[in-house]
Amino acid sequence: MAHRILRDHDADGWERSDFPIVCESCLGDNPYVRMTKAEYDKECKICTRPFTVFRWRPGRDARYKKTEICQTCCKLKNVCQVCLLDLEYGLPVQARDTALNITTHDSIPKSDVNREYFAEEHDRKTRAGLDYESSFGKMRPNDTILKLQRTTPYYKRNRAHVCSFYIRGECTRGEECPYRHEMPETGELSQQNIKDRYYGVNDPVAMKLLGKAGEMGTLESPDDESIKTLYVGGLNSRILEQDLRDQFYAYGEIESIRILAEKACAFVTYTTREGAEKAAQELSNRLVVNGQRLKLMWGRPQAPRPDQDGSNQQGGVAHSGLLPRTIISQQHNQPPPMQQYYMHPPPPNQDKPYYPSMDPQRMGAVVSTQEAGGSSTESNGPSSSYMMPPHQPYPPAPYGYMPSPYQQQYPGPMHHHYAPPPAAYQSYPQQPRPESRPAPSPSAVSAPPPDNAPAGSGAPSGSSQQPPAASTTTDSSQ
């Protein structure tokens, strides 16, 4: 095919590039990506100039995606070439611009020749090596944008499109139909226009996002003045106590930080109530640690236990208490529903150290529980595949905060993280909870008890992958 062999590529000013400018979600979860490159294959959806189209499949269950706008247009707005969302924050152009108060969008002409001229000028300047100031490099992230940004990649947008024959009821392909057999989503959000999205005008998704952002108020302080503990949810194993300390130290003196790896959460207690309030106010919707967005709420106190003995008060600290009832799982983990507990013999005097061998449950006694519609199975000591004696509940301990005798040995058995329904609230303190965690998680606590399960579990649930985009591009010059 002699199509472009004799032409001077620079003369017509059409765009050529070596690699697409693409966000993580569009590139997919697989670090190995096989991509085709087709020069001048399609015209840019915005400026209608021919450009190099890259096409790849972002993962096994994804459709093929290709670059939709040219690199010139994408650099002008600092967006992904495929999804037209911001490269750093994953937000639509309109949302990002309002959050950062950028107003240069008027300067990009939108119509006809004007637009083509602007694009060509811009392209020519870039190719000539003139370092035009990209205003996006200098943007300092402000609070609003941190609140709004997307922290993990969103692969649902890479799914196949909805089968239009299925909608009419006529899909004859059946099993082998590569399109989704679902009814399409309707509503205001589904009427989107690529040009509106690019120019940041009249974008329903952005408007919804901004609306929600406006309503994300600060965390209300609880009435109970003695609470100085904040609940931090959505942890993963890569977040260390030091990271949390770094985040929280600025607001007041931290009394303690307790991380509960099994529940992917932590409790930060301040010495003063004011410190806690300040932290809550500042961080409530903006807490991002190591790229992971964390949920911040107030801790709740535990009801006083009837057999509370001196050692508990000996610790003398504010108990982090139970999680607020309204917790919603930040990521995909659903909190197991609360369970009711039977009476269990109270632990022996806690003044002396308490060893696992003293606890019948740890030694493998079978405990039957009445569950509130839970997903837990009956703990059955050594025979259970998930349950191992170390995971069995300990005698009731104040939630989140161990009295000192316990502290050295069992820093981590806090499985009761979720507020029991009010009825069970009273009975809760008395009963150890036969815990069965289908998802074994590594214990991130510093002094794991010797018979605790070896932390050999799989990847932490919340971690987002960071695939190096090891992609190979093959020329498909035809």
Binding site: T36, R60, T172, R173, E175, E176, T474, S476
Partner: protein, 145 residues
């Protein structure tokens, strides 16, 4: 008028035995060619053509090489008269291609990334179990399956 040499077909012996089947397949082929395209995808309309061509070639190949019921002469005659596809049969003689569906499916130039069609992948190595390849509608022509 000068003598015009025409090519008159001289049928070798044994032709009468295979002629009916071949004619039948050819009739089906004609039907497939004039079929309407309603309710079918663009590529799907071509699938019967490939399927019948495969079937026809398969018949001739089987008779000669598998069942050994016709002579080489008759076999060559069929190929010359285009009752079977010579190139396709040439592939069938190779190991690994015994069940090849059509010649397009193994042509790397016709595919992205220079690979072969998905129908050539054995079913136990594939991710999607049910496929109809876009060229000929084949659902799996690897020799193993």
């Amino acid at each position: 008028m000068p003598k015009i040499k025409t090519n008159r077909v001289k049928y070798p012996e044994g032709w009468e035995l295979i002629e009916p089947t071949l004619l039948e397949i050819e009739a089906k082929m004609r039907e497939a060619e004039i079929d309407t395209h309603d309710g079918k995808r663009k590529c799907e309309a071509l699938w019967p053509i490939f399927k019948l061509s495969h079937q026809r070639s398969r018949y001739v190949y089987d008779l000669c090489y598998r069942r050994e019921e016709i002579s080489k002469e008759l076999y060559e005659f069929c190929l010359d008269q285009n009752h079977a596809d010579r190139n396709l049969i040439a592939k069938w003689k190779k190991s690994g291609y015994e069940r090849l569906c059509c010649l397009r499916c193994i042509q790397p130039r016709d595919h992205n990334y220079g690979t072969t069609c998905v129908c050539r992948v054995p079913k136990h190595l594939r991710e999607e179990k049910v496929v109809e390849c876009v060229h000929c509608g084949c659902q799996g022509c690897a020799s193993g399956d």
